[in-house]
């Protein structure tokens, strides 16, 4: 059992949990993830390690299905049955380079740890964070501290620049020579945004989020196609060369279980409707 020491809502449908998990926290590096299983019948779901300090790890997630809604109910003092990690390969960190770290939506969660690590290795770090609107923006202060320069954008202009992270990225790579770029967010955002750096051939990393089970390379649920080859995102990634990734395949494989996910979510909500336990819902 792993105790939750902090639980907070950061934005609309975006939550933060800080969990005591020394085996993960002490060895976690930028770019890695963990897997949680909340209770005995729970699913194993992967979440990026957003911060690690001492014995504590932080995860930030968006509520989209049964498990993330269940996680969002946890309060400080509650516990999580299983936390496994750190999983996946850490980000490859260059030295004395100029790097851009782009986060979209809940993907911003992964950015500060990468930006800090890059800066710690003597790189100049430019951050770009984008969200649909101001209510969905997260970790702005943390990113401002972690980066040499930070750009903030919203799709509707309610905060920072009006527009997409991709637009800012285009300007940044025009303005100065950039060596490497990280783009982290929903698959479609990663696809569109990483296309920006392709003409210049700038090395660009994306963190892929296929459906996983074990997270240790034993099942192949997480397989992704990179440069025409099948890779297991949990052990060969999750970060891959963006310009080699088959994003359409990734998005398709994220939609293997739409009916099941709907059923599980309805059931989750039904169990929280305030009826007597065991009551039947029509």
């Amino acid at each position: 059992m792993y105790s939750v020491v902090k639980a907070e809502q950061l934005a609309d449908r975006v939550h933060e949990l800080v969990v005591e998990a020394p085996h993960v926290a002490r060895h976690a590096k930028a770019g890695q993830f963990l897997i949680v299983r909340v209770d005995p019948d729970g699913e194993r779901i992967p979440l990026t390690i957003s911060r690690a300090e001492g014995d504590l790890v932080r995860v930030i997630f968006m509520t989209i299905g049964a498990t993330t809604y269940r996680l969002a109910e946890l309060r400080a003092g509650d516990s999580i049955l299983d936390v496994a990690g750190p999983l996946g390969r850490p980000s490859g960190i260059p030295q004395n380079a100029t790097c851009v770290v782009v986060g979209g939506g809940v993907g911003i969660a992964s950015c500060p740890i990468i930006a800090r690590t890059l800066r710690g290795a003597g790189n100049r770090v430019i951050g770009i964070i984008g969200a649909r609107n101001a209510d969905l923006m997260i970790l702005e202060d943390e990113m401002r501290q972690a980066c040499d320069e930070l750009h903030v954008t919203t799709d509707d202009g309610s905060m920072g620049r009006h527009g997409y992270a991709a637009d800012v990225l285009k300007e940044v790579i025009e303005a100065e020579p950039v060596d490497q770029v990280w783009v982290i967010g929903p698959a479609i955002m990663m696809k569109v945004t990483s296309a920006v750096t392709r003409p210049k051939g700038i090395r660009t990393w994306v963190s892929l989020n296929p459906i996983m089970v074990d997270g240790t390379g034993m099942c192949g649920s997480c397989r992704v196609v990179v440069n025409g080859e099948t890779k297991f995102a949990c052990v060969d990634g999750p970060e891959f060369d963006a310009h080699q990734v088959d994003f359409d395949r990734l998005m398709q494989r994220q939609r293997i279980y739409p009916e099941e996910e709907r059923e599980a979510l309805e059931r989750h909500h039904a169990s929280h409707c305030g009826c007597e336990p065991g009551a039947r819902h029509g």
Partner: protein, 462 residues
């Protein structure tokens, strides 16, 4: 529970009728009654030089426990087995006895071998852990040993090392120990309650279990190597895919994924359990080994029509005869001399294109080599495809070990006693042999534990 007496061939255990069992995950084999067990045990010749024991990788004193059963001393039979084997209820159910102890039985040529597996299971199942004398432990040696992986190899090594007085920490990356016993072999062949009970026995020896620890990451290699000795038993869990077009479309599983979803994550109980699985209405399983049989039988229980596609002939199926029989009884359709060449459908599987194979000259395995018949392609409709064409040693920890000698399959190279090329690091089970069997993994764990103990005591390992 309805039985079909006709299927039980005297010495055999009763089985649940296929028409009934295919609807649930209850155990297929029901075990022997005390009368049946005693009658079977009575047939044992009590050889002076028992060949069966030489056929047992962990060296169970088979004639002694069989005699105890024959004489009705059931508790003693169990205690006797536990001396050599701490997982008898598992072994009694899943060992390929026909190629181990029973294959060596002198009666196997003449009459028929003693059904040692069923007798082992009978003795093991009697009573629970209660009333069982705790296994004796040697005084503490003050030495610390890490065991990585809690499948049969790791469990056996951990138990043997703990018995010898060493402080053992058993690391497992999943949330529960057991390895393939838990996530691979289905409930209807090996109930998880049985596995858990036997693992309790190992842990009761004072073994410290640490789950959710992916060694190499949760425990860095430097910290692992700080133990006085290390036993690596990380198994052969890396699934192979055939490499045919269409493998990435939705609805294509490795057998490992399909079985893990059901056995470990209980997707058969979705949505009571949170993990889903595609139940499929038409499932194609590719492969002909035990894993393919398990995947096919699980898919049948989830309600699908199941075809198993195998490229050689029926008689070449590498699975145990008994498993093939069970699968057939449960309605799995066998399509032999056929090989999948392409998976059809986008975004979801709609079918599998196969070609007919003809059998040619014998290849190095002594079986006729299959060759594609030209123009013989045909399509099987399917909404789910499960590939059970093999697994290879888990590369994750192996590639982090400095100076580890590896073999062709990516396995760790070890000597007779499980020593790797790295001092104080031992390995055994599927990580060293490639995919093999539970009892071979246990034998390897036992031999390595003895070597670790000897090396620690003689000072070879400090």
């Amino acid at each position: 529970m309805p039985l079909i007496a006709g299927v039980s061939r005297g010495r055999d255990m009763a089985e649940r009728a296929s028409t009934v069992r295919v609807h649930d995950f209850g155990e297929v084999d029901l075990g022997l009654s005390p009368d049946q067990a005693q009658a079977e045990a009575d047939r044992c010749l009590q050889c002076k030089k028992p060949a069966c024991v030489t056929g047992c990788p962990v060296g169970v004193d088979i004639p002694a426990f069989v005699l105890a059963i024959a004489e009705g001393r059931f508790g003693e039979a169990r205690t006797g087995i536990l001396e050599a084997n701490l997982l008898p209820a598992v072994c009694g159910r899943v060992c390929p006895q026909e190629t181990q102890c029973e294959g060596a039985c002198v009666l196997s040529g003449k009459d028929r071998a003693i059904n040692i597996g069923a007798l082992e299971r009978f003795a093991a199942d009697l009573g629970g852990l209660e009333g069982e004398a705790p296994v004796a432990r040697a005084p503490a040696t003050g030495r610390r040993v890490a065991v990585v992986g809690s499948g049969p190899a790791g469990l056996t090594a951990a138990a043997e090392l703990a018995r010898r007085g060493h402080a053992v920490t058993l690391y497992e990356s999943l949330h529960e120990p057991g390895g393939v016993l838990l996530y691979g072999i289905p409930e209807f062949r090996l109930p998880k309650a049985v596995v858990r009970e036997e693992i309790e026995r190992v842990l009761a020896l004072g073994v410290e279990l640490r789950t959710n620890m992916l060694v190499g990451q949760s425990l860095p290699v430097e910290e692992l190597l700080a133990y006085d000795a290390v036993f690596i038993a990380t198994g052969a869990g890396l699934p192979s895919f055939m490499g045919i077009p269409g493998e990435e479309v939705n609805g294509v599983y490795s057998a490992n994924e399909f079985l893990t979803r059901v056995n470990l994550m209980h997707a058969d109980r979705f949505p009571d359990s949170g993990t889903p699985v595609k139940r499929g209405s038409r499932v194609v399983v590719t492969g002909g080994g035990n894993v393919a049989m398990d995947a096919a039988r699980v898919a049948r229980r989830l309600g699908a029509r199941v075809s198993l596609v195998y490229r050689r002939r029926e008689e070449d199926l590498p699975a145990r005869r008994e498993e093939v029989r069970h699968a057939r009884e449960e309605g799995v359709e066998f399509m032999t001399c056929a090989a999948p060449v392409r998976i059809l459908g986008e975004p979801c599987v709609t079918g599998v294109e196969c070609v007919q194979m003809e059998m040619c000259a014998l290849d190095e395995s002594g079986r006729p080599a299959p060759r594609e018949c030209e123009g013989s392609s045909f399509v099987i409709d399917a909404d789910t495809v499960i590939q059970a064409i093999g697994t290879s040693p888990n590369p994750l920890l192996v590639r982090l070990l400095p100076g580890a000698e590896t073999g062709r399959k990516g396995n760790l190279v070890v000597d007779e006693d499980g020593r790797t090329s790295i001092p104080r690091v031992y390995a055994g089970g599927d990580i060293a042999t490639g995919a093999a069997t539970v009892i071979l993994a246990m034998g390897a764990g036992k031999r390595a534990a003895a070597a670790i103990d000897a090396d620690l005591r003689s000072g070879i390992a400090p």
